[in-house]
């Protein structure tokens, strides 16, 4: 198990390298540089700037230098926010993004599992149809529509919750809700499907036959097997939450990484956008690895060799 985990960890290296390479070369091939603004600087100043940021070296040389720096956790200075390094910007936003995304994924998993299991146990009943119809709505309506509507309703018309900012629990309710709804829907659908499949199994019949209360049959025997497809979806779910949080942070004015990414993209802040892309890429890859390892704990058919 441990050697498998270590081997898998090394297996992610080519992917990480590819992310850095794509981000780097795409940025450098792009027309337009960070210094062509409306207000032009003098030639001498521009030369000095180019030297200071080492843009005069050959492209492969710059790439190797950048890669080396990234490995040491240094994404270079931000072109736009001149007093900060990209690493500082990322770490200043990360706790906020982590709290937002973490809460969303946690709620989405728990709520999705509960609703899905409920729908499966009442298959083709009114509860089932209600849950599945709601899930379809959650999948079809994107969160950048849900978020403003929630704000309009609970923030402005009812006045129960603040419409933006990030200072307390009540600030978090609307963004977390908007962020986790689509994932609740997908997880509920997955759980329902696999639960229906599992409940037909022989060992469930055995468990019932030996007189186990239904509550224990579901919780102890059926749930574990039904979790397998849900766990393998958690990797993509985290990727979706990270992408979604860019929009949610923008809408609610939350000072996380997503806002820096959008600002950086609009300002052509090379290093910042590259830094965020690589950071999120690495995060997604590591999470997928963790999911693969958890998968083995749940599914006895998986063997590490």
């Amino acid at each position: 198990m441990l050697s498998y985990a270590i081997r898998r960890l090394f297996g992610t290296l080519p992917t990480l390298l590819l992310i850095v390479a794509i981000a780097f070369f795409m940025m450098r091939l792009a027309p337009g540089g960070p210094f062509d603004k409306e207000r032009r600087v003098s030639v001498a100043v521009e030369q000095n700037l180019i030297k200071a940021y080492r843009l005069d070296e050959s492209l492969p040389m710059q790439f190797v230098r950048y890669l080396g720096n990234v490995l040491q956790g240094d994404f270079g200075p931000s072109f736009q926010y001149k007093d900060f390094s990209v690493t500082e910007l990322i770490w200043s936003g990360f706790p906020v993004s982590l709290a937002l995304g973490g809460a969303a994924i946690l709620i989405a998993t728990v709520l999705g599992l509960l609703l899905g299991a409920l729908a499966a146990l009442r298959q083709n009943g009114p509860v089932d149809y209600a849950v599945m119809a709601t899930a379809m709505t959650g999948i079809a309506i994107p969160n950048f529509v849900v978020a403003p509507v929630l704000t309009l309703f609970f923030g402005l018309m009812l006045g129960w919750l603040p419409v933006g900012g990030w200072s307390g629990i009540d600030n978090a309710i609307l963004p977390v809700t908007a962020l986790c709804l689509p994932q609740v829907a997908v997880i509920a659908r997955l759980t329902r499907g696999s639960m229906i499949e599992v409940l037909r199994g022989n060992y469930i019949r055995t468990a019932r036959a030996k007189g186990l209360p239904e509550r224990l049959v579901v919780a102890r025997h059926a749930m574990r097997a039904a979790l397998v497809p849900v766990v393998s979806y958690l990797g993509p779910a985290v990727a979706a939450i990270i992408t979604g949080s860019i929009v949610i942070e923008q809408i609610f004015g939350i000072p996380g990484i997503g806002r820096y990414f959008v600002q950086g993209a609009l300002n052509r802040d090379y290093t910042l956008v590259m830094g965020v892309t690589i950071f999120y890429g690495a995060l997604i890859i590591l999470f997928n690895l963790a999911v693969d390892l958890i998968y083995g704990l749940l599914d006895p058919k998986v063997r590490y060799d």
Partner: protein, 297 residues
Amino acid sequence: MSIAAPDFRALEPSIKGRSLWSDAWRRLRQNLAATTSLVVLALIALACIVGPWLLPHPFDEVYWDAISAPPDFANGFYFGTDENGRDLLVRTLHGGRVSLSVGLVATLVSLVIGVLWGAVAGFVGGRVDAVMMRFVDILYALPFVFFVILLTVMFGRNILLIYVAIGAISWLDMARIVRGQAIGLRRKEFVVAATASGVSTFDIVRRHILPNTLGPVIVYVTLTVPSVILTESFISFLGLGVQEPSTSWGVLISEGAQVMETAWWALVFPGAFLAVTLFCFNFIGDGLRDALDPRDR
């Protein structure tokens, strides 16, 4: 005078066979959600194509005396106007043209890449397959939306670029599905017979492999279109996609969200169009899967 040859064609209708496709079509028509979705989607598409020509207001005309006007039947602003005094109905339909065409073109791009990639990997097999699918595995882990945003930021917000970029990132699942089908088909007698009689690899893939992967591919296409439309809306919502005066549903929703306190109609109408369209595609996709995929029944 010659004797007319007996006309066997008259007999044909009575022995009409039931192909996979007619079976699937029959099952699809029994699915109420899918048929309703087909009709609604056709109506939305028709309105988006024809509407902008029939309506009295051009999509980029500014009416200075009707800025952020609420929906009003008297002067023809059925959906109201935006904060620049432009008719929202015609802008919603124009945005629909952009969003729907992104959905179709980008899906087409992803279809071509994914089907070719998957068919070649699955049919050729061996080391080629291993390398090609390892490449897909690596790409799977990349946060693609970030790269599309990078592309649009760096190479200008060209609508064509958005089409191709979104298409170029959506082909991975398609490649996997087609590969799985192709592996199964490779050992079938008719493919072996074609190989034995000297048909080239390209022709075998084109004539024998591809037509037989069509069912799952069609299902997946109907599920790719909404996800592509969603991606475009997402990018446009952030202000990184389609540019003024042109618009898309994502742009309209973004503008509407900023003024919703005073002008609810600017958010509600484009949002409803986008949501209903996504609904329809999802229902049609689900319906087609039930109709075409025997395993799911």
